[in-house]
């Protein structure tokens, strides 16, 4: 058996989103196995949700993930409304959809930027993040905060998008469209991007089905699933759009799917805005006095894939059990397939292609025994060890 080298990525590195540790077992340059260690980010949210009232849970689930801070409240609201059996007003549906799609645009821009950064294509990084700012400004205008919008509540939304704000949104959308053209050009016309991403991190259709992966990860491998179309919620049945899929399953296909999805998002928002103009202003919520016993399941399509919430109500003011499944939970498991057999330099982009972003080098200096993987010395011990060696050398002289 050849000797394998353990290369850790994480848990703390400068461009991370969440602290997580990947252990790549390499033989020479080739990755032979990937192991994943988590828990650095475990906050016990499902337990915390049981102590909070239904209104408060929204603020909690918003903070599961800062980028998907609409998708989780969206799914939670859907599942609680399923328990109550209430239909929200059309205006609230449109507003929910607008917020959800704006979030998709900013999340995809963020991913394209980071993907560029992982490949050393920093121009793409700076461009994508520069043009993400106007979208965040829109959120600030609508909700008062750049992230964590606090827009959702059971039975509707917390605040209206007044008709006078619509022109400002339309202006940003036309800018986004123009800049997406620019980014598509920057990605599709760049020979280096092609060379680095085509045929890298391939997930076949069967892999996707085995791991039950969702979202752009699945759609890039030709698995045509999208909750927005399959189980329509909010205003999605009221608007026209199409699901973007690709066949190849490599990183390039994933980038392509995400870029093209941004056009669809812009298209959806435009239709929602014209829908808003027809509805009465201020008609954004249905009052709900009591949440009966029972359970509800709600799923929505987040930028990364399907978010699933299960809420069990015992008739009291707070959920008796709240189970949350974020899309990365199933998507991350596909690393086992996408990374193994590739060179280390491709591993970072394969890991990032799913859209939990990991890169850079491991920065927690701990001496690790190569054979067993056990930690044998911490930083302090290394320093004292080296000091003792220096002393010995000095004594010899």
């Amino acid at each position: 058996m050849s000797k394998q080298t353990l290369i850790p990525i994480g848990p703390y590195h400068p461009l991370q989103e969440e602290p997580e540790l990947f252990k790549l077992y390499c033989d020479g340059e080739i990755v032979k196995d990937v192991k994943w260690e988590t828990g650095y980010n475990h906050r016990g949210i499902e337990k915390l949700a049981e102590q909070k009232s239904y209104d408060e849970v929204f603020f909690l689930v918003e903070r599961i993930c800062g980028i998907c801070s609409t998708s989780h409240p969206f799914a939670f609201a859907t599942s609680v409304e399923e328990i109550v059996g209430v239909e929200i007003t059309n205006r609230a549906k449109y507003i929910r959809t607008i917020i959800g799609e704006l979030e998709r645009i900013h999340s995809h821009l963020l991913w394209v930027g980071l993907a560029g950064h992982f490949l050393g294509y920093n121009t793409l990084f700076m461009w994508a993040w520069k043009y993400r700012e106007p979208v965040l400004d829109l959120f600030e205008m609508i909700a008062g905060n750049r992230n964590n919008y606090a827009m959702f509540k059971v039975g509707g939304v917390r605040r209206d998008i007044e008709n006078q704000k619509i022109p400002a949104i339309e202006k940003v959308l036309s800018l986004v469209k123009k800049k997406t053209d620019l980014l598509v050009g920057a990605v599709m016309d760049d020979p280096v991007f092609h060379a680095r991403t085509k045929g890298v991190g391939v997930l076949t259709r069967q892999d996707i089905l085995d791991f039950a992966a969702v979202g752009p990860t699945a759609r890039a491998s030709g698995v045509d699933i999208d909750v927005r179309r399959d189980d329509p919620y909010a205003a999605y049945p009221l608007v026209n759009w199409k699901v973007i899929t690709a066949k190849a399953g490599d990183v390039f296909a994933k980038a392509e799917v995400r870029l093209l999805e941004m056009y669809e998002s812009v298209f959806i928002i435009e239709q929602c805005l014209s829908g808003l103009k027809k509805e009465k202003e201020g008609d954004v919520e249905v009052k709900i006095k009591h949440i009966p016993e029972g359970f509800g399941t709600g799923h929505t399509e987040a930028p990364r894939g399907e978010v699933f919430h299960f809420v069990l109500s015992d008739g009291s003011n707070s959920p008796a059990r709240h189970k949350i499944r974020a899309p990365s939970y199933t998507n991350i498991a596909t690393f086992k397939k996408s990374c193994v057999g590739q060179s280390i330099s491709d591993a970072t982009i394969s890991l990032a292609a799913v859209d939990p972003c990991y890169c850079c080098t491991e920065r927690l200096a701990v001496a690790i025994d190569r054979q067993s993987g056990n930690r044998i010395m911490n930083a302090k011990e290394i320093i004292s060890h080296s000091a003792s060696i220096t002393n010995k050398l000095l004594q010899h002289e």
Binding site: E18, H42, G44, L48, F59, G66, N147, N148, V366, N378
Partner: protein
């Protein structure tokens, strides 16, 4: 000029430690580096290792698994080092303070020089916080 202010006179290099956070602060920190805010014009640079850094940015509520690692990173930092707690979770634990894995907030674990509250703090607030910190020394 004291030793500390001598050390922090020129370009500061930053290292970012994200505890059990929701990513928002992480992304707003990263946002500071992008064209609109452009932190690098002040000579500040996000570096990959605490061994190269002058400032340790900590965000997120710290859970029991993070705690020893945060301590270890603090130990590895070349002294003097400035520690900045970013966001509501970094300052107080925020909404996650009641969780069963919570071990923070940051100032219970390592000494903190500046607090930047907000959920998440806007990039302007992060910039203002770090500039104020520089003025202090």
């Amino acid at each position: 000029m004291g030793f500390k202010s001598y050390c922090f006179k020129k370009s500061l290099w930053l290292f970012h430690f994200g505890g059990a956070s929701c990513n928002n602060c992480d992304i707003e920190i990263l946002d500071c580096l992008t064209p609109r805010y452009d932190l690098e014009r002040f000579g500040m640079l996000l570096v990959g290792s605490i061994r190269h850094a002058d400032v340790l940015l900590v965000n997120g509520s710290i859970n029991k698994k993070d705690k020893p690692r945060l301590l270890e990173i603090y130990e590895q930092a070349p002294k003097p080092v400035l520690v900045v707690a970013i966001g509501a979770c970094g300052c107080t634990g925020g909404i996650f303070a009641e969780g069963y894995t919570f071990a923070g907030p940051v100032d219970n674990i390592i000494p903190v020089d500046a607090y930047i509250p907000g959920c998440p703090p806007k990039p302007e607030a992060i910039l203002a916080g770090i500039v104020k910190l520089l003025g202090k020394n």
